[in-house]
């Protein structure tokens, strides 16, 4: 049973919708700005990538981002859809407030509460679950949705990926010395860390059969997925990239294609020393001497944590449709291993039929999603 994407919404540091994000990324413009609320002091960085002009109408920043998105999409979503919510820390600002106010409301930050509210907004009655796999959370949710459709446990699944900029996460990555003092520069020789970003994205995944029978526009197909663990270290990836290679190979087997058919790769590309080095090694191992264009959007969007996978998949769909891979924003001087793979300019990909999107996270989690062009 093939899984196809029939609808989507995006809220990113470039604004509402896919067009502002795509246009900004293609132009090589970064949406990373100086942080107004809590940077400076002992933190490593003064920069984040926040959604601009966000109207804070809900109980939390994340709710204010994701609830209107789902409400806007409601009419497209069949009532019998399943719903998967991907996030790393959910409405963590509720927990921050609970601790600061010394009350016992920390349980309100449990993502199941947000799942329930989004289920009501979307008016769906199918099974629901919170999915979390560190920074590969929404890729994992897409993989789960495709599996549910293949196993005929559902034929329509609403996948939501979201995380908001928070003092909690900013302080955490600062403590790990993982933040770039300036803007993140994925794959650059002088890269020095990641930038925390935020996003909320949603995609309606369906069986191809149902999508066609309902006359829905098919944006793309999820043709292969793979996940793995490095079993190496809590925060650092395995240096040789074996775990990511395994995830990519699983996805290729599931899609029944050879690596040469991949037209472009949307990498995790956080801008940290170890992650980017690991990914480049992994891509060399998979693609040998003939790698496709590789890019990272995190120099533009920041690292959007639990939303990263879905945000990057939707940009990759756009990339397939327009037959052009966006530049790696922030890249000035590619490191040696990136030579021939990564560029600070857009790269045309005429005739590209498949794109690969990869994400990796704490604990050595790896996810690989292969997207097939349908439009």
């Amino acid at each position: 049973m093939k899984t196809v994407i029939t609808g989507s919404r995006m809220l990113s540091p470039y604004g509402a919708g896919i067009d502002p994000a795509w246009n900004g990324l293609i132009a090589g413009e970064s949406a990373i700005r100086k942080e107004e609320e809590f940077a400076g002091g002992s933190f490593m960085s003064e920069y984040t990538a926040r959604v601009p002009n966000l109207a804070l109408k809900g109980r939390s920043r994340l709710f204010s981002m994701v609830a209107p998105l789902i409400d806007d999409m409601r009419r497209e979503i069949p009532q019998d859809s399943a719903i998967l919510l991907a996030t790393t820390v959910g409405e963590i600002d509720l927990l921050e407030k609970s601790i600061a106010d010394n009350n016992s409301d920390a349980e309100n930050a449990n993502p199941k509460r947000l799942l329930n509210d989004l289920r009501n907004i979307a008016a769906v009655k199918g099974p629901g679950a919170v999915v979390s796999a560190a920074c590969a959370s929404s890729s994992a949710a897409v993989e789960r949705a495709a599996s549910m459709i293949r196993e005929e446990r559902a034929d329509s699944v609403l996948v939501i990926g979201c995380d908001a900029v928070s003092e909690f996460v900013f302080a955490g990555f600062s403590a790990l010395m993982a933040l770039a003092p300036g803007r993140a520069r994925p794959f650059d020789r002088n890269r020095d860390g990641l930038t925390v970003g935020e996003s909320a994205c949603a995609a309606l995944l369906m069986s191809e059969e149902r999508a066609l029978s309902e006359g829905r526009k098919i944006l793309a197909e999820i043709s292969g997925c793979g996940m793995s663990s490095d079993a190496h270290h809590m925060t650092a990836p395995s240096r040789e990239g074996g775990g990511l290679v395994s995830a990519i190979q699983k996805a290729l087997r599931a899609a029944a294609i050879e690596p040469a058919r991949i037209g472009s790769v949307s990498a995790h590309g956080t801008g940290t020393d170890y992650n980017d080095a690991m990914e480049l090694k992994a891509f060399r191992r998979v693609f040998d001497d003939n790698p496709p264009p590789v890019y990272s959007i995190k120099g533009g969007t920041g690292h959007t944590m639990g939303a990263a996978g879905l945000l990057e998949i939707l940009i990759a769909v756009e990339s397939l449709r327009k037959e052009i891979a966006p530049p790696t924003t922030g890249l000035v001087d590619p490191e040696d291993e990136a030579d021939g793979m990564v560029s600070g300019l857009p790269i045309e990909t005429p005739g590209a039929e498949f794109a690969l999107s990869t994400n990796s996270g704490f604990g050595g989690i790896n996810a690989a999603i292969i997207i097939k062009k349908r439009l």
Partner: protein, 226 residues
């Protein structure tokens, strides 16, 4: 292919229970951390184990017990492609509170990385993966209605689809750590088979009831007593 639960391990307070296709039932008091434990769980000493939060230690111990009771020997230390799925958010909430409270206590200037890395729902799974050398998919997946049953159905699907040969299902709250090994091995007295296996485990509200049930009954997709 006949997929089901090959072994289950629990730790609740200081009581340990493990039973499966690969071992006689183990029931007793937790002594795995004693100088000469009756059961050796890990292929090699787990680096920094003493500094793990308690729930992460329990996750590693129950996962290791489930593998052992399922007849999977980790003594060689080679990496193994076993998927890992988990549910239960209470310990994550506590870890989140610990990190942020500590950050506030330090004057909102600097957090502690060693606490931050435990603020994800998959943090304990990461420790399991590293301690036991498991390289399969790892994710937190919490159904809003049937947490353990959802883990089980997901694992079944992964095995049927050839994504993995086996999966560990970890379900934790503040008091209990439970881990089941799901794979496609042949029928056994201790083997809970069928699509309802997840719901069977979920129906046990009390460890004592579960122990009694496993001792006395044979399963075949439903409740049958010998």
């Amino acid at each position: 292919m006949s997929i089901g639960i090959a072994s289950i391990a629990w730790i609740k307070n200081d009581r340990v229970y493990a039973k499966g296709v690969g071992a006689a039932a183990m029931l007793g008091v937790k002594d795995m951390r004693a100088p000469n434990p009756s059961i050796v769980l890990f292929p090699r000493p787990v680096e920094n184990f003493g500094r793990f939060p308690e729930y992460a230690k329990l996750a590693c111990e129950t996962a290791a017990l489930a593998l052992k009771a399922g007849g999977i020997d980790r003594a060689t230390g080679n990496k193994l492609d076993v998927a890992m799925l988990c549910a239960g958010y209470e310990n994550t909430t506590d870890a989140d509170c610990n990190f942020f409270q500590d950050y506030l206590d330090c004057g909102r200037e600097l957090g502690r990385g060693a606490l931050f890395v435990y603020t994800l729902p998959t943090s304990a799974l990461a420790d399991v993966s590293i301690a036991l050398g498991l390289t399969g998919a790892a994710l937190y997946l919490e159904s809003d209605i049937t947490p353990f049953a959802e883990l089980y159905l997901t694992a079944r699907g992964m095995i049927e689809n050839g994504e993995t040969k086996s999966a560990l299902l970890l379900w934790q709250n503040r008091q209990t750590s439970l881990c089941a090994l799901v794979d496609d091995r042949a029928e056994s007295e201790h083997y809970i088979r069928g699509k309802e296996a997840g719901r069977i485990v979920e129906r046990w509200n009390d460890l004592k009831d579960a122990v009694a049930y496993l001792h006395k009954t044979r399963f075949s997709g439903g409740f049958k007593t010998r």
